[in-house]
Amino acid sequence: MDAFLLIPIVLPMFFGALLLFFSFREKNTAPGGRRERARLCLYVSAVLGISVALALAAAWSGDRELVLFTLFEGVPVYFHVDALGRLFVTVVSLIWVLSALFAFVYMKHEGKEKRYYGFYLILYGVLVALDFSGNLVTMYLFYELTTLVSMPLVLHNGTREAVMAALKYLFYSMCGAYGGLFSVFFLYRYSDSLNFAPGGTLNQAAAQGHEGILLIAVFAALVGFGAKAGMVPLHAWLPTAHPVAPSPASAVLSGVIVKSGVLAVVRVVFYVAGTDFLQGTWVQYVWMTLALLTVFMGSMLAYREQIFKKRLAYSTVSQVSYIMFGLSLLTPDAFTGALLHVVVHAVVKCGLFLTAGVFVYRFGYTRAEELGGIGKKMPKTMWCYLLLSLTLVGIPPTGGFVSKWYLAEGALQSGTGVFSWLGPVVLLVSALLTAGYLLPIAMKGFFPGSEHLQGLEEPHGIEEPGEGAQAHSSRKALGPELSPAMLVPLVVLAALAVWLGVFPGPVSEYAARIATAVF
């Protein structure tokens, strides 16, 4: 029993719920005064700061574990910190703090801030709990809660489109989660326990003769939890839900929430079913095919998409499936690469969505072709954007290169026949496409050509009809550059993206250690 684990989970949930309670109490949703907003930001940063500190302290101080209570025979609600959970908690905390910092400024023009921060805080608690989960049922519980709590972030602006997108998100995630639950039913029967253990807990004797059904169960879990990670066939919610959310929310959705799907898949495959069980079965091949298909398709769709945030969402679809592909190869190197890519993609995609937020916030730009010449107006933002894009493409000194290197290496060694060379080819093609849909924006941004310069003078395409005039005037008052609260997260993220490429040692060694434990 180690109650300390519970504090970083319960604390943000409690204070978030408190905030929600107050947000429902107040009648008018009109934005409050300056002082009130400052108080709110102070409150959120205090709660978040303390929770993050506690979460990291809990994560990096040994293998803590905690049995809360027993749900039914042999299945308690059980938290256990292990290497994988530690990695994910660190990523989540990092992204959460930076994105909150960005939101303090950004959410001014979205309104209903208390509600946003309330759910934001609760979601942090849920995610920490998800990462600390020690068995499948606990993980399932917090996985469902993640869906439920992140849904209000998607429907934040309350338009019909947003609500429909949220419902779509909910529907896909619930369908997927049921796929996961389906596998829990079977794994509960045929494994020693549902507690996670590196290498799997499948009971060979009990599973004897039931391999077929177990494979189907694991496959259901892959597809189901893959829904959250945007893997084909349940990927369609992602490009709908991410663009309608406020930008800081899409940043965490794309950076972190989709990773909870990845985490769930890793837990099921590597910590319960075991790699030996899947090696060389049809499940592995179908999984690889789906992942590669998603990688390619996501990039193609992103390439053709003109709405900037939607393009980024498609890019998420494609990039997260890099991770999925790495996992599906079932080799240590590819696994290391996948975990690295989890970190890299979280950092990069969060940063990219935040830049998209900057464009929306400052100019109301949502379409890619509107962004010409923007580099002249805000060079710092655009430099961050460029660095982040290069990382996502995988140009050598950046983090993306390292993770993709591991992935390709793993694929070549995997001995999966045609996939061992098809995989790297698809990854390469997709990288080219990534370059094709991200870099032109940077190029146009810095070198717009003559025809764009006039259009820049007057911003157009304001997104919030009611607050348009007010937001407009506030933009002019802000001056040409961004406020530090918005710029700092961008710079930090861009620096991190590069740093991960220049000094990949600590992270990749850490990931490799997990990989050796698992295989």
Binding site: F24, F69, E73, E144, L170, F171, C175, L181, F186
Partner: protein, 499 residues
Amino acid sequence: MAFVQNFPFLSILLSLFSGPLCSILSGKWAKRVNTGVIVTTGVMSAFVLQHVISTGQSYVYQMGHFPAPWGNEIRVGILEAFMACFFCAVMLLCMLGGIREREEQIQESKQNLYYVMVNLLLCSLLALIYTNDLFTAYVFVEINTISACGLIMIRQTGRTYEAAARYMIMSLSGSGLLLLGICYLYAVTGHLLMSNIREQVQFLAQTGQHHLSLMVALGLMSVGLAMKSALYPFHTWLPDAYGYSTLSSSAILSSLVSKGYIFLLIKIFCRVVGFNVVNESKVVNVLFVFGIIGMIMGSLSAIKENNLTRMIAYSSVAQIGYIYMGLGLATEAGIVAGLYHVLSHGATKALLFVAASGLGDASGNSDRFADITGAGLRNKLAGTAFLAGSLSMVGLPMFSGFISKFFFAQAAVGHAHKMFPTVIALALSTILNAVYFMKTVIRIYTPAPEGSVGGRQIGVWEQPAKSAALVCLILLNLILGLNSDPIVRLIQRGFEMFD
């Protein structure tokens, strides 16, 4: 014989005679008597439960001390006592939650008659649970039907009359078939007491005599009770009856009345006919198939519905389907899962009905979807309760619904033929549940558009009784969800006592 062993009989008698007593009291006093009776019977059942657990074996209570072939018997085991206790608790909460609706919707002069019906209903439920005699069971099934009909029609609107008429017609057809089945069984075996019939049936099954007659009897009884408890193709009366009657009635009807019949059916399967014979017959397969169809069709109809109460009523159709699916698996695990779902659904459905009425209060007494927008913000407790009920229905761990789903799936895994249909049906129905419940939850938490009329804020203390009922029901739900281990062990022990 310990004095506590008289309690089941006394509780039946008490609720039976308090019925006529209420008819000569004023409405207010009838309410007090009714509450007293429910509490007393609940406490008595708790004592009986404690007694049976401590002795570890069931006992048979002979009425008037007439021995077997002539006398009428009551049989009490862990499961019976536990069910009685649970039914009393849920009934009390349902009555508590609907006080104000009853005062508004029932004529002043007929208030006391409502309590007559409730007392009789309680009596018949207890008798259905405890009785060891098939014909007595039939008589109390009819009493149950009559009092349930009274509960529906007491609101005295055209809708409720029509609903009551349809309910009666379906229900009476069901009782006709049940009676015929009982007569068949009597003709074949020559007994009416459950234990005696069982001996005879086992003997006949071993020697292979009268196989056809036995199957016909079993089929008739199953179909009869399935009709009465609104299994899928016979569910047409249900949405009207639950949707338009007064709050306590719909809550009691959906969470208890249909469960009484299901409990009787389980008793018939396990104690009258014997599990092995049931297992060989095809009747369970039929129940299984219709259970599964009901799960899907009920949810589909609920999605189409644009009235909150009727949506919840349709969801009952789906939940009844779950229970029949569990029965249809025809394994001990399946029936235990079914019994657990009886508890879980009883607690959840009552919660949802009471919460829905709370939401309606905050929206100008309307339960149409268009009007309840933002109702969860206007009535916080009801909103929270509805959220809790929905999450339980959707099957989030920590709520009771997840546990019963898990048990159904565990019962199905490893079953030769029925594994895939069960798991797939569970999947589909969970997703459909998620669609309509989450849609509603989003709606009640979306702020109402400007200029909409009828909504008003409702505080927690405005209707203390309803708030108390909601809190208790949420707690009941959480207890079932978090503390399932001892309860399941109790059910299993009680189930083993059936033999």
